[in-house]
């Protein structure tokens, strides 16, 4: 299937590499993290991987912000956003993820005033080539009705795809909406583990760790360890489970 093909692609490999680097940084307190150092080269594939992982590429900064060191990474993110904007028929997930990366950049790597305008370091892939003030990427307004209306299996699937938005201070409205459906997400976690969909389970788990009233009987902490091990330490799963450990609670309630 498409899924299979993607798993062997250069992009999938790049995504795994970056996920691995982020997870390691999260494990090590994140004090020497640099996204740019994770990218083999700033090629289109590396930028695509940044876009796929979304806000998570900046997760170590959320742990221990150091905006002074983040200037290069801010440029990397900007180029990734410019290179892979959501298309006209982009899914809500794509829009949300895009917005999550925008918000993460703003929240974890705020402008210091020392940044030059994009282009100084030869990125050159500005999608907004003709627009002035291109350094401020567009912020799409993705739909969120699904948070209330999706049946629980679909809700959990989508929440998992957007697990990066569970980082502190991103998409607070989404977090509140999902927190209102904690039991449904918990059911989604159960379903995902039963289906051996470790990535989905780990992603749902990230929302659950910050939900105020996760049912005890879910056994979430043990479940995240289980999922991580059962996945064979798949880098994206490890990124999720590590993030779940490093960012427990802390929701806007």
């Amino acid at each position: 299937m498409a899924e299979q093909a993607q798993q062997n692609s250069a992009l999938s490999a790049a995504v795994a590499d970056v996920a691995n680097g982020v997870a390691l940084a999260l494990d090590g307190e994140g004090d020497s993290y640099a996204l740019s150092a994770l990218l083999a080269q700033e090629d289109t594939v590396a930028l695509a991987a940044v876009r796929v992982l979304g806000a998570d590429v900046l997760a170590p900064y959320a742990l221990r912000g150091d905006p002074a060191r983040g200037s290069t990474d801010r440029q990397v993110v900007r180029r990734a956003l410019a290179a892979y904007p959501p298309g006209a028929d982009a899914s809500d997930v794509s829009l949300w993820s895009y917005r999550g990366l925008v918000e993460a950049s703003r929240a974890f790597l705020p402008e210091t005033g020392a940044d030059g305008v994009d282009g100084a370091d030869g990125g050159g892939r500005d999608g907004e080539g003709g627009e002035p003030g291109a350094e401020r990427p567009p912020e799409p307004r993705p739909g969120d009705a699904w948070v209330q209306t999706d049946p629980w299996p679909a809700l959990a699937h989508r929440a998992s795809q957007l697990a990066a938005l569970s980082l502190p201070s991103l998409a607070p409205a989404l977090a509140v909406g999902l927190a209102a459906r904690t039991d449904d997400l918990a059911r989604g976690f159960v379903r995902a583990v039963r289906r051996r969909d470790w990535l989905q389970a780990a992603g749902v788990g990230r929302w659950l760790v910050r939900a105020p009233d996760v049912p005890d009987s879910l056994g979430l902490a043990a479940g995240l360890v289980f999922v991580r091990r059962m996945s064979g330490s798949d880098p994206r799963v490890v990124l999720h489970t590590t993030a779940a450990q490093r960012f427990p609670g802390g929701g806007p309630w």
């Binding site: 498409a2 899924e3 993607q6 692609s9 992009l11 999938s12 995504v15 289109t44 594939v45 695509a48 876009r51 796929v52 979304g54 410019a82 290179a83 892979y84 904007p85 298309g87 006209a88 982009a90 899914s91 997930v93 794509s94 993820s97 999608g127 907004e128 080539g129 003709g130 567009p138 699937h157 795809q161 039963r194 289906r195 051996r196 969909d197 989905q200």
Partner: protein, 62 residues
């Protein structure tokens, strides 16, 4: 929105792949159950009422 310029074919393909990874379909569920002794004999093992006491030590039917 974003326009042409010299967007190589590779980038367009990558953009599609990015979309696919972001909004990926659920993989098919994988169900594999615990193997008990005589694993295939589901009916015998899962008793609505009761498994009888084995009469003679014949090969395990449970």
């Amino acid at each position: 929105m974003a326009t042409e310029l010299t967007a190589p074919v590779e980038t367009a393909a990558l953009a599609a792949e990015v979309e696919g990874l972001l909004d990926s379909a659920e993989p098919e569920g994988i169900y594999r159950d615990t193997r008990e002794c005589g694993g295939g004999l589901l009916l015998a093992a899962l008793l609505l009422i009761s498994p009888p006491t084995p009469r003679a030590p014949k090969t395990d039917a449970r």
